[in-house]
Amino acid sequence: MRSAVVVFPGINRERDMAIALAASSGRPPRMLWHTETDLTGLDLVVLPGGFSYGDYLRCGAMAAQSPVMRSVSAFARRGGYVLGVCNGFQILTEAGILPGALLRNAGLRFLSRDCYLRVERADTVFANNYQRGQVFRSPMAHGDGNYYADEATLDWLEGENLVAFRYASATGALTPEANLNGSARGIAGLYSRNLRVLGLMPHPENRVDPLLGGADGKPLFDALTAAFAPARP
C-alpha cells in the first residue's frame, strides 16, 4: 500500500498514524507537507489528527484552504481513497468532501478517553475486517466532535447507508450516555457516496498494539493493506 500522511502545522497525531500504517503494510507512508500538491502514485491519503493552524477560526477551516487540500479534493473526485481522523474528519467537512460539520461537544468538555464504536457496515475497503454490528473500542480526544447536519442531510446519509460508525455502549446499544459528544444520530464516522472517503472522530490508529491496551483499530489498517496489496503471481 502506497500511502501518505498529510502534515499541517499544528498536527500532532501524524506519527501515530504513520506507525499504524507501517505496522500493517510494512511500508512507511510518505509524509506530505501541506504545501505539496503532487499525489501521484498514492493508493491512500490520510489526514491525521491534531490541531491544524491552532484550530483558529474553526477546526479544520484553515487547513481546508491549503494547497495540499486542493489536490486531495481532486484525488477524492477521481476516486482516490482518503481517510480523515479527528482533525482530519473536520478538515474533510470544511473542504466539502464529506457533508455536515463538527460542532463543540455537547457537554462543552474536551473528551480524552476510550469510546465504543458500532460498525454500521462492513462491506467497505476500510471496514471489511469487522462484522456489521460489531463493537470495538477506540480512543477519542477532541473538543469539537459533535457531528451536525440538517435533518434532510441526515436522512440522506441514512438512506444511502453512509454512516460508518456510531457511538455505542460496550454491548452495541445506541444510548444517549454512549453518545459522548452529542453527535446527531450518534454518528462517529461517515463515508462518501463512493465509499472511498472515510472520516471519523475517534483514533483507531492509537489502538493497534496490545502493548497500548488493545489492537481493536488494527483491522482497519489491515483491511486497507489487503485492498492495496500487489496482486500475487
Binding site: 477551516a61 467537512t93 460542532l103 462543552l108 447536519a149 452529542g182
Partner: protein, 92 residues
C-alpha cells in the same frame, strides 16, 4: 475617491463580519452563559447565542465593492454556511 487599490495601502474602509450559528444549531456555549447569567440573578435572560466578530481593514474606498468582497470572504472562509450565518457591515 473611486480609485481602486489592491495593495493594502491608501484610503480604505473596515468590514465588520459577524458570524453566528444558525437558528436550530445547538449552541452549548450560549446555553452555559445563560446558566451563568441566571446564577448571577439576571432573571430576565432568555436564550443566549455566541458568535464571532471579525474586523477586516480593506484597501477599498467604495463601500459597495467592500461589502461584496467581505461577503465573498465570509462565504469562502469566515463562516461555515453549513452551520453559520453571517452579516457584513462596512465602516468608513
Amino acid at each position: 475617491m473611486s480609485e481602486r487599490r489592491g495593495d493594502g495601502e491608501g484610503p480604505g474602509v473596515k468590514a465588520i463580519v459577524t458570524v453566528m450559528l444558525k437558528d436550530g444549531v445547538l449552541d452549548p456555549q450560549g446555553r452555559a452563559i445563560a446558566h451563568a447569567l441566571h446564577a448571577l440573578e439576571f432573571a430576565q435572560v432568555g436564550d443566549v447565542r455566541v458568535g464571532k466578530v471579525i474586523e477586516i481593514e480593506l484597501a477599498e474606498a467604495d463601500a459597495d465593492r467592500a461589502h461584496a468582497a467581505a461577503e465573498e470572504m465570509a462565504r469562502k472562509l469566515l463562516a461555515n454556511t453549513v452551520i453559520e450565518g453571517f452579516r457584513v457591515r462596512i465602516e468608513a
